[in-house]
């Protein structure tokens, strides 16, 4: 029996995407071998590669100004590749730090060159509980780029109004909310996303990069570090994570059939509303630390007012076939990650459970 999966990443994958992978595991579309056994330069894999890319372009409405790249190494690899490519010597990059991963991105940039936190704010307990408003942030007008994180997986905040970086290129880590809502790709110099939340399995990274921004990239770094290399070779300079791209294709087919990005956005809003509603209804039992205007639709973070009940909560949820509700080890508390693959019904099951649990232990 399949569990209800609230894991933060790797996380739930749409069942039809997995079922197709299962069906085709030994024989991909009558070719007599698994997609994993196909050459990355053969026509069968190339078809998958092209379909995944075309679906991504269609679903995200990627303009012709942007390249779509398939890379590896997770968002953490992007933390290093972005400054290596774009942080020129003698110049600076601005980082808007709204959570743990943004902070890590800044720290990694500082191992490459000069970078500063253009904005960084935590509450008295050291938690990141909001994203900034436009008026709160000022950028270095000579910055090579501004780095932002669209959704903070760990603390559960999300931009509902992206920052306007004016003439500066905006580089955005969208690992945990890509394809969950409409985004104007044209406003970003570079978008990157590890696949293991809304796109498929870990090990694959999707990058969208503006062709003009690419022209500013360093040519004095190893070939394999250059976004330009991936753009020139259609992400096939070397062997990509072929199974990762295949699973991405399967997930995007499902997403398209489910109403595309606008369908997902509607569903995600409903799911998040239902969960935050129970938190707001029971503030003496459940505490939602994130400011309302910054609440994430992907990662709903909360604590039990009585932390002594934490273990019982996780156990009782598990007994009702719900996995992954425990918060990140660095924050404690609870977190329900409700990415695209999590259904309205999954969330209602959790909401119902949370109400019952509060009644029983309140």
């Amino acid at each position: 029996m399949r569990k209800i999966n609230f894991n933060a990443g790797p996380s739930a994958i749409p069942l039809p995407a997995l079922e197709l992978a299962q069906k085709e595991m030994l024989d991909f579309e009558g070719t007599g071998m698994s997609i994993m056994e196909h050459s990355h330069r053969g026509k069968d894999y190339m078809r998958v590669h092209a379909e995944a890319k075309a679906l991504l372009i269609e679903l995200m409405e990627v303009p012709a100004t942007h390249e779509v790249l398939f890379m590896q190494g997770g968002a953490s690899m992007q933390f290093a590749l972005v400054p290596l490519n774009f942080l020129a010597a003698g110049r600076r990059a601005d980082y808007v730090v709204t959570g743990t991963w943004g902070k890590k991105a800044l720290e990694e940039a500082r191992r490459v060159g000069e970078a500063r936190a253009a904005w960084q704010q935590t509450d008295v307990q050291g938690r990141y509980v909001r994203v900034p408003k436009q008026a709160e942030v000022s950028f270095d007008e000579r910055a090579c780029y501004v780095h932002t994180t669209s959704n903070n997986t760990l603390f559960g905040s999300q931009y509902w109004q992206f920052l306007d970086t004016g003439k500066l290129w905006q580089v955005c880590d969208m690992s945990s909310d890509i394809l969950s809502r409409k985004v104007e790709v044209s406003k970003f110099g570079l978008i990157y996303a590890g696949a293991q939340k809304n796109l498929g399995p870990s090990g694959l990274v999707v990058v969208l990069v503006h062709k003009e921004f690419l022209k500013a990239a360093s040519e004095h770094i190893p070939l394999i570090f250059r976004y330009a290399t991936f753009a020139e070779h259609d992400s096939l300079l070397n062997t990509p994570s072929t199974f990762g791209v295949y699973m991405l294709r399967n997930c995007l087919r499902w997403l398209k059939a489910e109403g595309g990005v606008s369908g997902m956005a509607l569903r995600n809003e409903k799911k998040a509303k239902a969960l935050y509603a129970v938190l707001d209804e029971l503030p003496e039992f459940y505490i939602a630390p994130v400011e309302k205007e910054s609440r994430s639709h992907m990662n709903v973070v909360f604590h039990l007012a009585n932390a002594a009940l934490d273990e019982a909560f996780v156990k009782a949820a598990a007994a009702e076939q719900m996995a992954g509700v425990k918060g990140h080890r660095s924050t404690g508390g609870m977190r329900a990650s409700i990415y695209n693959a999590t259904s309205q019904q999954d969330v209602e099951t959790l909401v119902d459970f949370m109400r019952r649990f509060a009644r029983q232990h309140g």
Copy 2:
């Protein structure tokens, strides 16, 4: 129906490894979710991670001096990471260039620091047809390391006696022959291998690195580039390719059941002998460019004396359910890649076909 797969990589995967993945695709060991949907920090994935690592240590007899790392980005990423970690400023690295990938590794190192070809030799047609003997190579005694390629996928040569690099650390790309024969891991400072030939699907890279060598690594590069980071965090600083590690586990279970590395070595020798025998028997029809002492047991490279028959050969092989016999686009001709997952019977089918084809067209 499953094809006989002679692809050079990604390549054949043992059927039981795929069948297990198929069976467990929706529900890994009764956990109610795919292994791809499990958190990389949860006990279920951790069990897989630990088993894959333990099997690798057991099968390769990895000594306690060496760390086992799971990385991403293919061998091509290692081409850059090796010099970034170990090529100190003002010093040099030696590369023994025995094929296209070794050459690419050298070129990438030169984008990082100073590196030279300690040996490099092609025939009059520009083909790499042999590996050097010890007496032919002299190393820079101040080199940070010596880089070698144990098996050359593209040209089909292989070391049967590894070079002795004395006090210098030897870094070896074993992507295309890891686990195909016994190797004294203790003699290497670092071994790396992209998984898509003998270990599983593309996207995963296995690294074995000597702990003493690690101490010489740079601490002035991004965290995600450092082998030390992966060693310290058991390859879990960030999310690994969890499905890749799972498939590695499945492949290693199969390999162990099939007699381990010594079982594979015996089988691989038999397979290679059978194929080279037909090439040697029919030298007027088939041309094997690689010198006999350097012949690879993994990639059997040959040409038809009459290149006009190339297309007919590939077509006729395909008609008998054999895929992947076409040579690399840069070399032309034919190549049968006969990694661990290729059976004796698969090779006999090819040998039989090659005899018939020569009779019919000779």
